[in-house]
Symmetry: C2
């Protein structure tokens, strides 16, 4: 038995006089899931049973940071089972939040990590240092031709990354194969005209059968990037059928992820990066969602700080961003960021092209080679 351990950090809300018992119960729940007194195998007790490493209580005494020491072997070095050991049954305990995980090299090395990371995406785009721009093909229900026209308009006006709305799946109004072929060709045509290298990221969805069909389209059409929702696909399927089978950089979308009682910086930052995201979309503060600035900066930090051999990835603050906020977003995140603006460009109507150009120009002005340090 491999006796290696790793540490996971939880918050437990309970009265101070119950925390020792609750922490010990959490250790049992997340490992052997039976009374340790009934275990006769000494190796299991020594190497598999999780143990409580530390407990730190807040001054009010009703919230406690509990660090567990968990068995690496019990994860089977597989992502789904890792999530199970971290937060399978305890996801059913309302008073428990998963705050952080210290991923050891053994686990980091077993998870794929990004294929390209921030640097690789910049290289593919030919944009070494300014902030990157991104917009979304919307609304769902539009026919493929309309989405291709919109993609062309984005690419011609200078948007770097053009992604499908995450609601574009394989619906009859815009079937995946037809949509991806048309949009990919529209962006390629724009690139020939501009001399730039805008990239289209279609939305990947469904079970292994559909994912295999979509992988064929991605390959056949020369698609260079995809968008995927790890929590809708399932993390093991995201790794196998998207990150590994498709082989192109992945933009991770947080759909269905926000409900998990897992710290956003851990799930959308550290873990999505470990599972293979090259960039992570998250709801920026001040938009349509409720994450505060501190949470958003923590996600960006988790995307960039050292994590085994996993490259740094790009944070993509999004969710109701507007062109007027470009400088503020850059001030928050620096140049190594993707600014994603969707609805605010589209709502300009006949003036959409001008607004896209404003967006691109403001990003260039505050982070391009002519800009001051920012």
């Amino acid at each position: 038995m491999n006796a290696e351990r790793f540490r996971a950090h939880y918050r437990i809300r309970c009265p101070a006089d119950q925390v020792d018992q609750r922490a010990a119960a959490l250790a049992v729940e997340q490992s052997v899931e039976m009374p340790p007194t009934a275990i006769r195998d000494a190796v299991v007790l020594r190497d598999v049973l999780a143990t409580v490493a530390t407990i730190e209580s807040d001054p009010a005494g009703d919230s406690h940071r509990v660090v567990l020491s968990l068995s690496v072997a019990a994860t089977g070095l597989e992502a789904g089972q890792l999530l199970n050991m971290l937060f399978g049954n305890s996801s059913l305990h309302d008073e428990v939040t998963l705050l952080d995980v210290e991923l050891p090299p053994s686990i980091c090395d077993a998870l794929p990590g990004p294929v390209a990371g921030a640097a690789g995406i910049r290289e593919r785009l030919g944009v070494p240092d300014r902030a990157l721009t991104c917009s979304a093909l919307k609304p769902i229900g539009s026919p493929p031709e309309a989405l291709a026209d919109l993609a062309y308009a984005f690419a011609v006006a200078g948007i770097d990354l053009i992604k499908d709305d995450h609601g574009l799946a394989d619906q009859p109004f815009a079937p995946f194969a037809e949509r991806v072929a048309l949009v990919q060709r529209a962006v390629a045509r724009a690139n020939r005209e501009t001399g730039r290298r805008a990239i289209y990221a279609p939305c990947i969805s469904g079970g292994p059968t559909r994912l295999a069909e979509q992988a064929r389209v991605v390959h056949d059409e020369g698609v260079q990037m995809v968008l995927a929702c790890p929590m809708l696909l399932g993390v093991p399927s995201f790794i196998d059928a998207v990150r590994l089978a498709m082989g192109v950089p992945v933009l991770a979308h947080p759909a269905f992820a926000g409900a998990a009682r897992i710290a956003p910086a851990l799930l959308l930052g550290r873990l999505f990066r470990a599972f293979g995201a090259d960039a992570t979309i998250f709801p920026n503060h001040g938009g349509r969602f409720s994450y505060d600035r501190e949470t958003c900066l923590a996600i960006a930090a988790a995307a960039r700080t050292t994590q085994g051999t996993h490259r740094a990835i790009l944070p993509i603050p999004a969710g109701g961003m507007r062109v007027e906020r470009v400088e503020e977003i850059v001030a928050d995140y620096g140049r190594d960021v993707v600014l994603l603006i969707g609805g605010n460009l589209l709502e300009a109507g006949d003036a959409m092209s001008e607004r896209i150009e404003q967006f691109v120009a403001r990003v260039e002005a505050c982070t391009g080679p002519q800009a001051g340090s920012s």
Copy 2:
């Protein structure tokens, strides 16, 4: 464009004077995800944009049941995209809970539903009407031989369903292929001795590649049932690679599901059943978890009430149940239930066989042919 609609019920917590605006924003978020004023395609506005059907506020005025009318076409009749339309982005809104979905025949028919259901499991077991018994192979870390011995002891003593602990994946201490072969043979040997038909349900896990390998083992060893965690595998992968590819009845486990801000009766009852579960494990009240009795009874009701062509499935109240509670559990759920007791049997130590026999005898006494109506 297919103009068919279906309805989803949410709870929004907000001041009464904001609910109209919040409900309209939810409808946009869960469909077109852009300002409707910027949409020029009349068909999209008419057929794809979600609309607010009704709003009912509680007397205090800070909690509101909002019913949205959603586009069936936007789901692409695929389970992952259905979840996306129901709760993709709104999972990121802490004040929103998904309460219920009215699944129309078009969506029901597109989802696989159970392969066997309650009646099919009873038929395979040869147990027409008493309550069923189940126990779990534990703890993780045990070698395959020990798990096989335990399975044999359960089967000989009269347990109907013997499932892997959901923490048993494909770890080096008990690799899937080796473990499943040994346990399946141990249960078959017990069945030959007893003349009964106990069934072993190994735990399925991982991405499509591992799932395909596990499907081969399931097939080669004649495994008749599997255990799987839909929220760890990902629902689309659960459907494709477990329910459809393996073709045997499935026990669904709630690991990683409890954190979702989705009503448990909807997720563990109605939706898991639609996705293909034949029985659904949930944390019963009074055990190690915090669901109350009303929540648990609602899960059982969702497992059984009419739902298109989907057969009724078996509720499995679990999570720290004890032999002393057999009669009480049967009083709650009736005979058409699986009683899952794990740790309480194992902690009997040398008296385990006697405790298993007590468990089986008490279930027989209160629900078997000799019992009064219960």
